[in-house]
Symmetry: C2
């Protein structure tokens, strides 16, 4: 007989199967247990499809009566693309619901659990809540801040450069770190670079494996200057490209990129003419992106940390010294007293490199 924690962990595993396909919905997994046995499992496969609870209940059929339902997120109680899950749970005769966390969606936030309790169902909430929050941190960010979870990745030399004095940056870090980065891309709804990186490196920003889900490739291009020949606007995945621009004119270029099936998003500009990042991420949130993996360069990195728009930092430090090169954070000059303060949550050797995971404080 498995413990509540073990069964909730199983819902995490199931939830993760939908990763990349459910946004802006959360990833959700459900396990139905009767007499100590798992009788059905379900997960939210894709935005618009059955919720995890409904999928599991359908599988369980009549056996759901008197069973316990485990789920990593409070069941919804409102009519969306699908009818409310609370209704299905009550109808199936489930006698107990164990959930990890309340739904951060203001339309739900505790209401779903209350409805279940009123219907006479025993409700337990908060099992492995911290992990559940992490599992759906993109969704939580969308619900609470209206913008995606933002991860900033940087690859630096030990003396802090992201490229040598000639502009070369391929590759500062090792194969192992590059592979890690390409795998991380698949864990996010979008991958972002600044136009400078497109002009210099012409990246494709694709994950290693092209089967299944391809994250959006986002370029911050304030004046809509991305070259027609750039990889991001050519090839098989142009429909997975989003150009974020502050430029409303340049109709010919707009039309050309739209003809190629790239998306263009017009956002506000700041006084200096640079994209208003807060507006940009709010807009990406409205487009349904719950997480964005920002890969630099130095100007985008500086803008993000200066605006406080970084939820997680991933800094790779390569065992190399250049003496001179391209600055990693290009856009401000802080005194030591006013330095941007970070906190490291994880520090480890990563092949020949070092990986520091942290956040702004």
């Amino acid at each position: 007989m498995q413990t509540d924690e073990q069964l909730i962990r199983r819902t995490f595993e199931l939830a993760d199967k939908g990763r990349g396909f459910t946004s802006p919905n959360p990833v959700v997994g459900t396990v139905i247990v009767k007499n100590g046995e798992i009788i059905a499992e379900g997960w939210h496969k894709k935005f618009g499809c059955d919720h995890a609870e409904r999928m599991a209940l359908k599988k369980a059929g009549d056996a759901a009566e008197g069973a316990t339902l485990y789920v990593n997120l409070e069941p919804c109680d409102f009519e969306g693309k699908t009818p409310p899950c609370t209704e299905a749970i009550i109808e199936a005769g489930i006698s107990k619901v164990v959930a990890s966390m309340e739904d951060p969606n203001p339309k739900v936030s505790g209401e779903g659990l209350k409805i279940l309790q009123k219907a006479g169902i025993e409700v337990v909430s908060g099992v492995l809540e911290e992990e559940a929050q992490k599992l759906n941190r993109g969704f939580v960010s969308l619900m609470q801040k209206g913008r995606p979870w933002i991860t900033l990745k940087m690859a630096l030399t030990t003396d802090g450069f992201i490229g040598d004095a000639t502009g070369k940056s391929q590759w500062i870090t090792s194969d192992r770190s590059l592979k890690f980065v390409r795998r991380e891309r698949k864990k996010h709804d979008g991958v972002m670079v600044g136009l400078g990186t497109v002009l210099k490196d012409d990246p494709s920003l694709l994950p290693d494996y092209r089967d299944g889900y391809i994250p959006y490739r986002i370029v911050m291009d304030e004046s809509l200057m991305i070259p027609y020949k750039a990889k991001l606007v050519n090839g098989d995945y142009v429909d997975r490209t989003i150009i974020v621009t502050g430029e409303a004119g340049k109709e010919k270029r707009w039309n050309e990129f739209q003809k190629r099936h790239a998306s263009i998003v017009k956002v506000d500009r700041e006084k200096m003419g640079w994209i208003d990042l807060e507006d940009a991420f709010q807009t990406l949130g409205e487009e349904g992106l719950s997480s964005v993996y920002c890969e630099g360069g130095g100007r985008l990195a500086a803008s993000l940390v200066d605006a406080g728009l970084v939820d997680e930092l991933q800094i790779f430090i390569a065992p190399k010294i250049l003496g001179e090169g391209i600055k990693s954070f290009d856009g401000f000059k802080k005194s030591l007293d006013q330095a941007i303060q970070l906190q490291w949550d994880e520090v480890k050797q990563f092949g020949p490199d070092v990986l520091l995971k942290g956040r702004l404080v």
Copy 2:
């Protein structure tokens, strides 16, 4: 009954008691064991004093006959400040000698052990040799390269700066890291900075605790420009200051510093007028310094890594971003292909900072 490894570890502990006082001699500890019991211990307390073996043999007296002697370094077989230890061991009637490593001193290097064997003593060598090498890495460096073991310590922001744009560098890292550094000073025969650091920070370079041993404070001052008011040439410990210069003139300044009991060492200059570092460290080695802890600044750091004159790197990375500041390695501009390559041996969180220990490869 203790194993050979346990008894050799005890010699390491005893050896370490002499740390700071024995240079240019190695640190040595000795344990004499009879019938499974330690009957005497000894260590080399200070350059010119009894060697560890002799101290232990004196304590053991007649009981040494038939006993086993453990020592972290091959006993010497030549007449130096004291008579050869091999002689004392043979005379005392020791029946077995267990040593960690051969003496890297070309005057010994295996000869001491051979003499013991010829005298009918059973000899075992190589127990925990790697650790023994590390224990006396300064001495090994002096014997094999004619120069001290060189450790380069740097305190960097995450974006690679050692000071902000105004020049301020106190303090980039946390109290805990600063304390670590002050403790490290006491583990070295000398602590070194470039003149730039003296002009900017006016450091005292003293360890936390002033009791006992004070390491030499070395300033690389190519043109003998250190100010008369600098802390390094004032106060209680001027006799522990060494000024390394390429300047033979400036007689008035020479006389003034010597009057204050600072040492001045004249070394060669390179074509560019900068101190010939190889000559400088050879000279410090001849002065008896077996280890030097270099604390920057950026110009000294760049010169050291560029000359390959770094045996250990200690890099503290503070959780701070400045955007702009004083470069950590100031003196060259490498392409990515020609970057100075490092290797990390140890990576860990150190309070709020990260400590990377490594070396040049």
